[in-house]
């Protein structure tokens, strides 16, 4: 299985996934079933996670495809520009959904402002994602276009090429991103350790619900690192796309991302009270979470050694 194969499997998930999640959200609101609304937020979060490999495999596919004859490089670039906007909106939707779940868990009722924001963002995401998908289809399927019609237009205000020149033309940007990426790394890892070491039995007198309030700071660190990481990938995709270490880093990142949903939203984690020993399952999950983040850091550090970066 190679990158184009991955991309063909994953590329429908962001579009169809957000359509399904929007449907669940609306159905929950219509039927006044809060459980359904809550599930829709969880689905948005997971779809946002899956959009990461969908995007990355697309970048790798584009690099392969550009080498082939009779391929419009311009069409690939337009598809990429659209994908950056759609992926960005998808991340914002996932972040808002995460924040909604975090608040909901804390106060035990939904925040309607948050649900409204998620709905608006997800509709924007779906529209741009569908446009991006159409552009992607047109690269290899001219039969999609009626004779004489123009290809679907990409966004005019953002270009992968301008992000690329921004990062590579200014010598100070790359090191600044490095500093931010490492500050984001320890901010995230510190909160991850605090929360998961409690599960494993350190400071047992503290109920899990008190630590839950720390989680937005982990997500802030993650956000800083996704943005800085994306800038590098867009600027120098050749360093990452054929890099086995990057592949594993992203794999463990997805696992760790799922764990973040678990500690944020699931009853099993929330209900660990003061002076209570966490269940064996919770302990195993906490151990797995720390291990996943450690592997994310390991394979990040090994990018130049196991792979070809730098």
């Amino acid at each position: 299985m190679n990158a184009p194969h991955f991309h063909l499997i994953l590329n429908h998930v962001p579009t169809i996934g957000s359509a399904i999640a929007i449907g669940l959200l609306l159905l929950g609101l219509l039927r006044r079933q809060e459980a359904l609304t809550r599930v829709s937020l969880e689905v948005f979060y997971v779809i946002a996670l899956i959009t990461l490999p969908a995007y990355l495999s697309g970048v790798a596919t584009g690099m392969e495809l550009e080498k082939m004859p009779d391929i419009s490089v311009e069409a690939i670039h337009k598809h990429h520009d659209g994908a950056i906007v759609a992926f960005g909106l998808m991340l914002l939707t996932g972040l808002s959904a995460w924040f909604g779940l975090w608040q909901w868990r804390r106060v035990n009722r939904p925040s309607w402002i948050n649900i409204g924001i998620v709905l608006v963002l997800s509709l924007l995401t779906l529209t741009t994602m569908a446009g991006t998908a159409t552009m992607g289809g047109e690269i290899r399927h001219p039969e999609m276009m009626p004779e004489g019609s123009a290809p679907t237009a990409g966004p005019s205000w953002i270009h992968a090429a301008s992000i690329q020149s921004l990062v590579t033309d200014h010598t100070w940007i790359w090191p600044s991103l490095e500093a931010l990426h490492f500050i984001g790394l320890w901010l995230l890892f510190g909160v991850v350790l605090l929360v998961n070491l409690r599960m494993l039995g350190m400071m047992k007198s503290v109920p899990f619900s008190a630590l839950h309030r720390m989680l937005p700071w982990a997500v802030l660190g993650l956000g800083i690192n996704i943005v800085s990481g994306m800038m590098w990938v867009i600027a120098t995709p050749e360093q990452y796309m054929a890099n086995v270490s990057f592949f594993w880093k992203m794999g463990f990142l997805l696992l760790a991302g799922l764990n973040l949903l678990y500690v944020t939203a699931f009853d099993e984690a929330w209900q660990v009270g003061a002076n209570e020993d966490a269940s064996f399952g919770n302990k195993a999950i906490a151990f797995g979470a720390i291990a996943s983040w450690v592997f994310v850091m390991y394979f990040g550090r090994m990018l130049p050694f196991l792979g070809n970066a730098f």
Binding site: F182, L185, W186, L187, V191, M202, M203, A210, H212, W217
Partner: protein, 165 residues
């Protein structure tokens, strides 16, 4: 200084630097990363708590993290010294290296002050967080951010080694 540079050319350090083994330079670099993430991360989380985040977490139980932070600092320091010796000629000439060391020393003094002035008090949870504790939490965050930034910039500013860093 000459002594450290002599060490750079010892057989062990030649191996660390040039063997190409994943157990050499890459493994030590990884230990340094894990160590710094644990030290600055846990210290940073404690700072955030003192600044008002998740104020339902009692302070006294956080005492248990101090030995953990110092243990992780041991790993960071040992791996750091190894990385320094392996590339001493470059790093000892880098002004950013000394800036980094200064901020780490400040951050560690700050950590000790947090322990002695805030967490050593057995009644720490019976009164609101003092303004002195909040000040120490704030400076701690500033020092770790500055140390991390300087650490990263060592690979870009001044003499830069050819090693992956």
């Amino acid at each position: 200084m000459d002594f450290i540079i002599q060490l750079q050319h010892s057989a062990v350090m030649d191996w660390v630097r040039e063997s190409g083994s994943l157990l050499g330079y890459p493994a030590i670099l990884f230990l340094h990363t894990i160590g710094l993430a644990t030290v600055a991360g846990l210290n940073g989380a404690i700072d955030l708590r003192l600044l008002g985040v998740a104020s339902r977490i009692p302070l006294a139980p956080l005492n248990r993290f101090f030995p953990f932070i110092w243990g992780a600092f041991g790993v960071t320091a040992l791996s750091g010294v190894t990385l320094l010796i392996a590339d001493a000629e470059t790093k000892l000439r880098s002004p950013v290296f000394y800036i980094k060391m200064a901020f780490i020393i400040l951050a560690l003094i700050n950590l000790q002050l947090l322990k002695k002035r805030v967490f050593a008090d057995p009644n720490v949870d019976t009164h609101p967080v003092t303004s002195q504790a909040r000040m120490l939490a704030f400076t701690s965050l500033v020092f770790w951010v500055a140390a991390t930034t300087a650490g990263r910039l060592m690979a870009y500013i001044g003499p830069v080694a050819g090693l992956g860093s």
